[in-house]
């Protein structure tokens, strides 16, 4: 019995070795990148005057969220994500675990909360409606690798989703009842992605050490073509190769975004 178990364990170990060899690039070391986006221009967020559920929605001060900046121009909602190339898989640091709770996109106060988010395919995804007595639908017709959906979401009965494939770009999600409502969700089969926070900063930790292409994307323009990051410049797809050394943090510093870059 014991002997049998030993045998089985050994064969599992052997299998593990074979698999490790098979996947070749197992990075023993990991690195981090971070940075901060600052918008070099004026943004006057347009006020939204609701034309549906006006009584309820007017209570919330709704503004156009296509370009959201802080007092010092800190630009939020910029997506940064590692693009290993078509069909290539990445090693995931053992500390990065799928979220215990589902990642939540909430219909709240006649807007989506959050406005921009990332979902790893290992995570669960949940759509809620926290607006009491208000009907919302969530229309994800801009999914390409995963099945599209368009569902009514009611109070207290969230929609659960599990994605299986990487989308190339953040996908627009809309509510057709309230045409001003939209959000952007980036679905990837690896956890190496981030959305810049309210202070414009982002960080992607525990990336396998080595050279990787990172994509920079903002909803106002899409790919941030020719984005200047330090001395380097992103290519026509808004991608930049960054060398991530083991055990180090690459600080990309302040990344300036001009109005022209966002198509303004």
């Amino acid at each position: 019995m014991n002997c049998n178990m030993m045998k089985r364990l050994t064969s599992i170990a052997a299998l593990a070795v074979v698999m490790t060899v098979g996947t070749t690039a197992v990075a023993a070391d990991w690195g981090t990148i971070k940075g901060k986006f600052v918008f070099k221009g004026d943004v006057k967020p347009e006020k939204i005057v609701p034309n549906k559920d006006t009584e309820y929605c007017s209570k919330h001060e709704l503004v156009d969220e296509s370009v959201v900046v802080g007092d010092g121009g800190e630009l939020s909602n910029v997506f940064v994500y590692l693009n290993p190339g078509r069909g290539k898989k990445l090693d995931v640091h053992p500390d990065i675990k799928p979220a215990a709770e589902p990642r939540i996109l909430d219909n709240k106060g006649c807007r989506f909360e959050p406005h921009a988010m990332t979902v790893w395919t290992a995570d669960k995804f949940e759509i809620r409606n926290s607006d009491d007595g208000i009907g919302h639908n969530t229309n994800a017709s801009m999914l390409f690798a995963n099945p599209k959906f368009n569902e009514q979401v009611t109070n207290g009965a969230p929609i659960m989703k599990q994605f299986t494939k990487s989308e190339s770009y953040p996908s627009k999600v809309a509510c057709n009842v309230h045409p001003w409502m939209n959000a952007y969700v980036l679905i990837r089969d690896n956890p190496y992605m981030a959305v810049s926070a309210a202070d414009g900063s982002f960080e992607i930790a525990n990336i396998p050490a080595g050279k990787h292409d990172f994509a920079f994307w903002h909803e106002a323009k899409g790919n941030l073509k020719d984005l200047k990051v330090g001395k380097d410049k992103a290519d026509r797809k808004g991608q930049l190769e960054i060398d991530v050394p083991a055990g180090k943090t690459v600080d990309l510093g302040v990344i300036e975004i001009t109005p022209a870059l966002l198509g303004k």
Binding site: S141, N150, Q152, N176, V177, A260
Partner: protein
């Protein structure tokens, strides 16, 4: 007299000319690339030609379509549907698509045949692979039975007529050809995205991954051709993309909505039972859980949310908006360059970007200019009793449960087999009962008129 003879000479000349032109064989129709897809993915002319070559190798031409073995498409049916319209000696019609469909749906299946401009709604563009009237779950493809139903019944309330007078084999041929055009169209989009994402002009690298430099120390650029026939890696990718496009078609039969038997409303319901179901459906229709009234309006006239678009309009709207945005951006860039110039600053980089954007605008504008007016998706007026996807109770059940793919209409039932929906099946049947009753329900609630002799009727 003189005048007449001159006229007759002219007339003869004109007749000869017409005869000559008339005799000339029209060139064989060709598939055209999807300009919106090509321009928005910034596919260069060289790559466009290569994408067209790959598509031709995979799918053939409008005169000689090719059924890829992997696709499961039937070559015989495609051949019967394709090519010029004519009848053979046995009286069998050939070129069915061009005889019955092309004038609206176009050679490419882009819904832009010569009559399309005059129709409302516009004919369907198959190339996105999205179909509205089907009894499968929202993201799923239609089954053959779904497509056949549309061909047989037409789409009531639109210009799409019924083709129920065609033979079974003719309908089979046409639905096969629609699938073929759809698969080809989706393939085209995905190939363009692949070319954008993975190919394109890049700095040439040597074996060690170092950039190759020319005499002046500038990196040498190279354009890796898109040629899956000689490049095995690209060949594998194309096969993979094809599998992605084909799989949903092959899985459609497993995605059919089957309402539970025990939830089906009985055939022998009493008036009271039907009335109770209609009343429940009414509450749901005007409640926020099902939320039908927000779009279909407070009296079901379809006068709720009317400012939205379906995915076909949205594709063009997004393209048009981006083009306008680019135009505005060019104006502000010009101002910025002028300002920098006045302040004596370098503007080389700004000017390079401006030139690139201007070149892009020159490509986009003619495409946007050729769009037909973009229309909103207007919610259906449910008081007319005309149901585009069919008037069987099951048809309405599927519309309500799965929503209508490609449109703003969301589903309230299970999104996938076995999933939990917002409404229960019973509730969906209630909504169906109410919707079927809507044309007979007074829009307002007037007092019934009193009989003329009411004063003579004893209290």
């Amino acid at each position: 007299m003189k005048l007449t003879s001159r006229n007759s000479v002219l007339l003869t000349a004109a007749t000869t000319l017409v005869a000559l032109v008339g005799c000339e064989q029209a060139p064989a129709p060709r598939f055209h690339l999807n300009k919106v897809v090509m321009v928005s993915n910034e596919i260069s002319p060289a790559y466009q030609q290569e994408v067209a070559n790959v598509l031709a190798a995979m799918f053939g031409t409008p005169d000689a379509p090719y059924a890829l073995p992997e696709s499961g498409l039937n070559q015989q049916r495609l051949t019967l549907a394709a090519g010029a319209a004519w009848s053979d000696k046995q009286g069998v019609d050939r070129g069915l698509y061009r005889k019955h469909c092309v004038h609206c749906h176009g050679i490419n299946g882009d819904g832009r045949g010569p009559t399309a401009r005059f129709l409302n709604p516009y004919p369907r563009d198959y190339r996105q692979g999205v179909f509205k009237f089907k009894n499968t779950y929202n993201p799923a493809k239609p089954t053959d039975a779904d497509l056949r139903r549309v061909l047989n019944n037409g789409v009531p309330g639109t210009s799409m007529p019924s083709f129920s007078l065609l033979t079974e084999s003719e309908l089979d041929a046409l639905l096969e050809y629609v699938k073929y055009l759809s698969i080809r169209g989706e393939m085209e989009t995905k190939l363009a995205q692949y070319v954008y994402d993975e190919l394109g002009e890049a700095e040439k690298e040597d074996e060690n991954g170092e950039p190759v430099l020319d005499e002046d120390g500038n990196p040498v650029m190279e354009r890796p051709p898109f040629d899956p026939a000689t490049n095995a890696e690209q060949g594998d990718v194309v096969k993979e993309i094809l599998t992605e496009v084909l799989a949903p078609w092959q899985e459609a039969v497993d995605q059919v909505i089957n309402p539970a038997e025990d939830q089906l409303p009985a055939d022998n319901r009493t008036d009271e039972e039907i009335g109770a179901s209609i009343a429940k459906g009414r509450d749901l229709f005007y409640g926020t859980k099902a939320n039908c009234f927000t779009c279909h309006g407070p009296t079901g006239l379809g006068d709720g949310q009317q400012s939205d678009y379906d995915v076909w309009s949205k594709e063009q709207k997004a393209f048009e908006d981006a083009t306008i945005q680019l135009q505005e951006s060019i104006v502000s860039q010009q101002k910025e360059i002028a300002r920098l110039g006045r302040e004596g600053e370098e503007t080389d980089e700004e000017e390079a970007k401006l030139a690139a954007d201007e070149a892009l605008l020159a490509l986009r504008q003619p495409v946007a200019h050729n769009f037909y007016p973009i229309r909103n998706a207007i919610p259906r007026n449910l008081r007319k009793g005309v149901y585009r996807g069919g008037r069987r109770r099951l048809d309405l059940y599927c519309r309500v449960s799965a929503g209508i793919a490609g449109t703003p209409m969301p589903g309230v039932g299970a999104a996938t087999p076995g999933a939990q929906g917002t409404l229960s099946e019973e509730e969906i049947w209630n909504v169906v009962d109410y919707v079927l009753n809507l044309p007979y329900e007074p829009a307002s609630n007037p007092q019934p008129a009193l009989p003329w002799n009411s004063d003579q009727i004893a209290n």
